[in-house]
């Protein structure tokens, strides 16, 4: 059986260019919304996690900009934009 490559290491293979602001934010007061729990399951980059107090947090570094979280959770709980021009992930193979 082959070794499992950690998600961090896998995302480390991609080219990312830093943006001046976070392009995805959990809307204020929504961090405990049940809809956000879906993001933990669906995000292919595993960027969402739940804190002990039940709040969902996102670490936007490593975002593949697929939009799955927005589709799963909805715009009521997530403020979602694409990163500004020339930043974010830059796929070399795609």
């Amino acid at each position: 059986m082959s070794e499992v490559m950690g998600l961090k290491a896998k995302l480390g293979l991609d080219v990312f260019k830093e943006d001046s602001e976070f392009h995805i934010k959990i809307k204020e007061g929504q961090a405990r919304d049940i809809r956000l729990k879906k993001a933990i399951l669906v995000c292919p980059a595993g960027l969402y996690s739940e804190k002990e107090n039940g709040e969902v947090v996102i670490s936007v570094d490593g975002c593949l900009e697929c939009g799955t979280c927005l589709i799963a959770c909805g715009a009521e709980v997530l403020e979602w934009h694409y990163p500004s021009g020339g930043s974010g992930v830059q796929f070399r193979f795609g």
Binding site: L13, D14, K38, L41, V42, P44, T68, G74, P83, F91
Partner: protein, 432 residues
């Protein structure tokens, strides 16, 4: 970018993916002034495919493109693998028709292909600006008159929204239907580099032949979706597509974990052995088809490609890129015709839908409008793979003692209830 508010383009295209570039190439070839705005560093930087393009439906729309297009390998060997927890059954299809020119499908990497297509559009005279995100539409009295990008006002007779599955542009123009997660899947994949000779030996490939493999069943933990593998020139595209709704249902498994277990399946592990992962990507796929489609045009605006919802899952084929290229082409034709009449209102642009209706694009979407509901049937991804695996195990097993007769062996799996349920599944399938 200089302030170009005084300049008026014939067309501004939002997004330099396949739909946008096809539209730009076609419009520029007709001598129109086209501006493509791409938010990535280069065209292709934000684009992802599972890995295969079917050329037949679009060959004649771009007759000059194919001979030099940077495609990977023509797919000459097809396999579909039904995966249960401990066993799998594979059906392989080879045919001389898959190995005769013109080839019907190719593996493809979008980083390479889109960059190349952008160059072809530029050669025809299209203007391409990368690193430019469109933030808003300019709308006056209901007519789309241009876009806002990086604080600049850019005006055009027509805007073509080719900004992908989420299409904020179509949304801002009020053309999108409310987003429902049941109509979307997410695909994620790894590019695994592998020595070319090893790859060709491992997959029994001669010359530029390629292989395509699909996997269904336990690969998505029984969720609606499947795995895929395509051979590129010296790499593999390995990934999973799974319904976004299905991912949020029981059993709760995080998307990246599906990929990890997939790679550890013995069927896969031996195919990627010695390979090195060089990129991990993800992309949303609009699978809702005709029922989820919003309006395709409005005053001063057309929608093409994924933005219009033009991708389709009918089980053995999951397609989007041909629809993107074709809808981009027809959007361009619609703009050309609208310009002849100098009418860029909704009525002037309505020819777009007529062109799509007469083409394979909307004909396919009408023919397959039930396919998502039919395929989104849990038993197909859990019960049947297990059943098939069990039957194979018993057929092939030679026990220490006497081997039971075959008919009763199989019959124990096929109760009246089971057969009745298969008939029901068959009836569902007849809708596809």
């Amino acid at each position: 970018m200089e302030n170009q508010s005084s300049e008026q383009f014939d067309t501004i295209i939002v997004g330099g993916g396949l739909a946008g570039l096809a539209a730009a190439y076609t419009l520029a070839s007709a001598g129109m002034e086209v501006l493509v705005l791409e938010r990535g560093d280069y065209c292709g930087a934000k684009n992802v495919t599972g890995g295969r393009m079917y050329v037949n439906p679009i060959r004649d729309l771009f007759p000059d493109l194919w001979s030099k297009a940077p495609l990977e390998r023509h797919i000459a060997h097809e396999e579909i693998c039904i995966i249960d927890k401990k066993r799998s059954i594979t059906v392989r299809y080879d045919g001389s028709e898959l190995n005769e020119e013109p080839y019907q499908s190719y593996s493809i990497l979008r980083g390479k292909f889109d960059k190349w297509l952008a160059k072809q559009a530029e050669r025809k005279g299209a203007m391409l600006v990368s690193k430019s995100r469109v933030d808003d539409l300019i709308i006056e009295h209901g007519q789309v008159l241009g876009v806002m990008a990086g604080g600049e006002e850019l005006r055009a007779n027509v805007v073509i929204a080719c900004d992908g599955a989420l299409s904020f542009t179509a949304q801002k123009a009020g053309l999108q239907k409310p987003v429902q997660s049941k109509n979307f899947a997410v695909g994620f994949k790894e590019i695994i580099e592998i020595d070319r000779d090893v790859l060709e030996n491992r997959f029994n490939l001669e010359g530029n032949e390629g292989a395509a493999r699909l996997f269904m069943g336990d690969v998505t933990a029984g969720k609606f979706g499947g795995g895929f593998l395509y051979t590129n020139q010296a790499s593999l595209s390995l990934g999973i597509v799974v319904g976004i709704d299905a991912l949020t249902h029981e059993p709760e498994i995080k998307a990246p974990e599906l990929m990890d277990s997939f790679k550890q399946r013995p069927e896969i592990a031996r195919l990627i052995k010695g390979g090195e992962t060089v990129e991990y990507s993800a992309h949303v796929i609009p699978e809702g088809g005709l029922k989820a489609m919003g309006q395709l045009y409005g005053d001063g605006i057309l929608v093409a490609g994924d933005a219009a919802g033009f991708s389709m899952n009918i089980g053995v084929t999951v397609r989007g890129m041909e629809y993107a290229l074709a809808s981009g082409y027809y959007a361009a034709q619609a703009v050309i015709q609208a310009k002849e009449k100098n009418d860029f209102t909704k009525s002037g642009l309505s020819i777009y839908e007529k062109l799509l209706n007469d083409s394979f694009v909307l004909k396919d979407f009408k023919n397959f409008k039930e396919s998502l509901e039919v395929l989104e049937y849990p038993q197909l991804f859990t019960h049947y793979p297990e059943l098939a695996g069990n039957i194979m195990k018993d057929l092939y097993e030679v026990p220490a003692g006497p081997k039971p007769r075959l008919y009763p062996t199989i019959k124990q799996y096929l109760s009246m209830k089971e057969i009745w349920s298969m008939v029901q599944v068959g009836r569902r399938m007849m809708k596809i």
